[in-house]
Point group: D2
Chain length 265, copies 4
């Protein structure tokens, strides 16, 4: 009868102030509503559409801010890494190291993340690439296990569906759970509409897809949230407004309770 895990926070570290205030608000909600919550924020957006897009403060400054989040709020934190050399420093701060979907076949990155997380008793969260069938995520799982890391999460964030659109095959959830790791549903990147001048999003679809994923039995929800998505420096069109987060999480917890009470499918 596990609780639903929430992984939440702004897309990118825009400033220490934004990150700390958002984290404090999420920590309050988590405490009040009894949520299991890990704070997520990126120190670098390494694959932005344009070279002029905001990327973040970089590894060192970013990890300092995340360490402060941990210290101030007591929340565990997570971030995504893009090169093997980032794994060790990130694992000193982050309970969960996130492997970006585009990079989830890069053996060296999985190796570095696995070894670094293992040293700190941490977790590696592999995002299923948009170009990989759920059945084939087993290869990334086996790679991490070969490097000694058995604390894994798998995250569904949509599959390429024609051009400029993703689709969530909800069958991914039970299929990937059979590989062992808990499966997280990324509710906000799933509603991205990639392409064009900058990646768009269908924010209004977030609660529908999140409910569907929880009903399917997913173990956690990943949702990027921001106090004012219209002013966000990355992924604004698909982030959840922070003021809606509590209601969103509460709604999903009710579905989780029902799933827990009726587990056999």
């Amino acid at each position: 009868q596990l609780p639903l895990l929430f992984i939440a926070g702004p897309c990118v570290i825009e400033s220490e102030e934004l990150v700390l205030s958002t984290a404090e608000r999420l920590a309050e909600i988590a405490a009040r509503d009894n949520l299991s919550l890990v704070f997520k924020c990126s120190f670098d957006k390494a694959n932005r559409t344009s070279v002029d897009s905001f990327r973040g403060p970089g590894l060192e400054a970013g990890l300092e801010i995340l360490a402060k989040v941990k210290q101030v709020t007591g929340l565990d934190v997570t971030t995504d890494i893009h090169e093997p050399g980032q794994a060790a420093p990130a694992a000193e701060v982050c309970r969960i190291l996130q492997i970006p979907a585009f990079l989830a076949r890069q053996t060296d990155l999985l190796e570095a993340a696995s070894k670094a997380a293992l040293k700190h008793g941490g977790v590696v969260n592999i995002k299923k690439p948009q170009f990989v069938a759920p059945e084939d995520c087993i290869h990334a799982v086996k790679k991490c296990e070969a490097f000694g890391q058995e604390q894994l999460l798998l995250t569904e964030r949509g599959t390429t569906f024609g051009y400029g659109r993703l689709v969530n095959d909800m069958r991914c959830i039970p299929i990937m759970q059979q590989m062992g790791p808990p499966v997280i549903f990324d509710a906000t990147h799933s509603v991205q509409t990639p392409g064009g001048k900058s990646t768009g999003g269908q924010r209004e679809m977030i609660p529908y897809l999140a409910r569907a994923a929880v009903a399917c039995g997913c173990d956690g929800i990943f949702a990027e949230t921001h106090p004012d998505p219209s002013q966000a420096l990355s992924d604004g069109p698909n982030m959840l407004p922070l003021e809606e987060f509590a209601r969103f999480a509460l709604d999903l917890q009710r579905f989780r309770t029902l799933v827990n009470e009726n587990s056999a499918l």
Copy 2:
């Protein structure tokens, strides 16, 4: 606070005996568990993979059997039609006329179904073609409305996803609901794997996808069911065993209750 509508029955009229005994069992479950249930069975499978496949008893004999179901069980019945000339006789027996997905752009079929159903106060259930975006179902809706028929259902049954596989884009449900008609989720055809010697299926995925659809707010569930799918003359690999139907429906009703209590998304 509408109840979930169930549309259920064997894929094809294999025999009067099979149809009556299945319908009686479904009627018992519906009465006991307070289900809103319409009995579905096809008199003709007009697009089987092979010319040697079983097709059913045909229009006249099939409608006689469906009329008997209605009389004996008190259930409303529905069937799918394939040519305009079948609409009028089918509407005399069936509360709902179902338009097959492949045929849902055929204007004459929509016209005949709309006019025939209108005469009897019946309903037209349009299956979203596997090759049509949810937004574009508005055209079929408008065609029926142009012919005077406003009692419509729209059914999601999967979208073409590469070769030999369908995917359910759960965003279909709220998108199609915005057009007016209630939206039904076809939980058993959605798990078909088309192609090869005969169409296969992933029966184990039915309850996952059905839960996801109900959580997304769909208005009804379509599920083909058979006392012994392994012996069924059509669609065996994707039908729900009849003995599992009550538990399946009860599970979904619990999710429906939760949705009704928390309607605002």
Copy 3:
């Protein structure tokens, strides 16, 4: 060393005058440039997006006009049929009966077309549905053969690729050729962009895709053409302007000659 077959004409019979003048122009080009050409035009567009769209003159009036085309120009003619009852009259006029892609799994239509064409020594041209893998076209082929019809064509016209877009998998051509029938590439429907208020098209892509298909070894090219596509009553955005047809065909014939000279792949 077979020549490339061209199947060409306006999408729909807008008027006797338009059809005859277009057919006469195509016949002149065919005679001058030594093209093997069959004239195509539809008597009814049975699956238009909207109920207000122009559909054509209907079966009887349409076949009269096609008969006149045959008489005046000496060209063989073809049209698409939508119901089994249309097969016999159409086969009296048309050398080739075309099965629309959406309807290519309807056994009764394949049966009627096969039997009607057989009676007149004619041909059945099956369009590969947008939702069917090339390998699975074998079922439609076998259905026709079961009804005695062995003179078949298979036509590639694109596969569903996400929403609102088709893609041509050129592997279709050799795969379907291995089933026996010659394979035609439909260069104008392949560039349709289905969806929205009315189906759009990428006319500028027609010559690229047609060249690719001929280089892949296709046996014929289907291309709808109209003296003024901007004024056409159906499929304007994806038709080839009639004044470009001769140059288009000549270009493809050069590629065909090269293929014939280098047949082994």
Copy 4:
């Protein structure tokens, strides 16, 4: 009237002997048949399916072997890089730096490759990711241009099409050419069937797709080739046997000549 560029070689540097003997054979063919040919081989396969798969000799040893190829055969050479730090050493040896498809959105890799190639008057070859529309390759082009690199190639290697299958949208070729860079068609990775225990391939489709791409006007053909693909340590199922390479290239040159003679589409 540019000649077709060929980029060819074994998938991975299995041994110095294999690489040198293959390169010598390709150089002989290029000299005899007047081919414009660049030799390609990978020093590291960084995203193999399994951690036990062969990866190659690594950066330093691999570049030494490629330098020897250049010296012995006079051919220009190319290889793919996976991390920014590999760009500078690779550019000292390689005329073309190849950006893997999965990594083509990683800004730092594009920056490093652009700057390193620029220093040596070299070229950056960006493979279109399997999850990106052709129109959206403009972003990678603009990133490289922002870093001063204007000598670019874009390579089409297939787009995600459901699970376990790629499809080549041949419209990619003219669409990407409009961005400025020449467009290469990767004929051997396009026939991969990703997934399962190891990535499979449809080798028999290589010449069909390559002909189609040349007919569409592509500027070059990328084809991995090996003296004995059945014994290859990577990508065996989709490589072209070396003994077939000359005939393959000659066939495509004939199509190129025809395209050059009939350029206007």
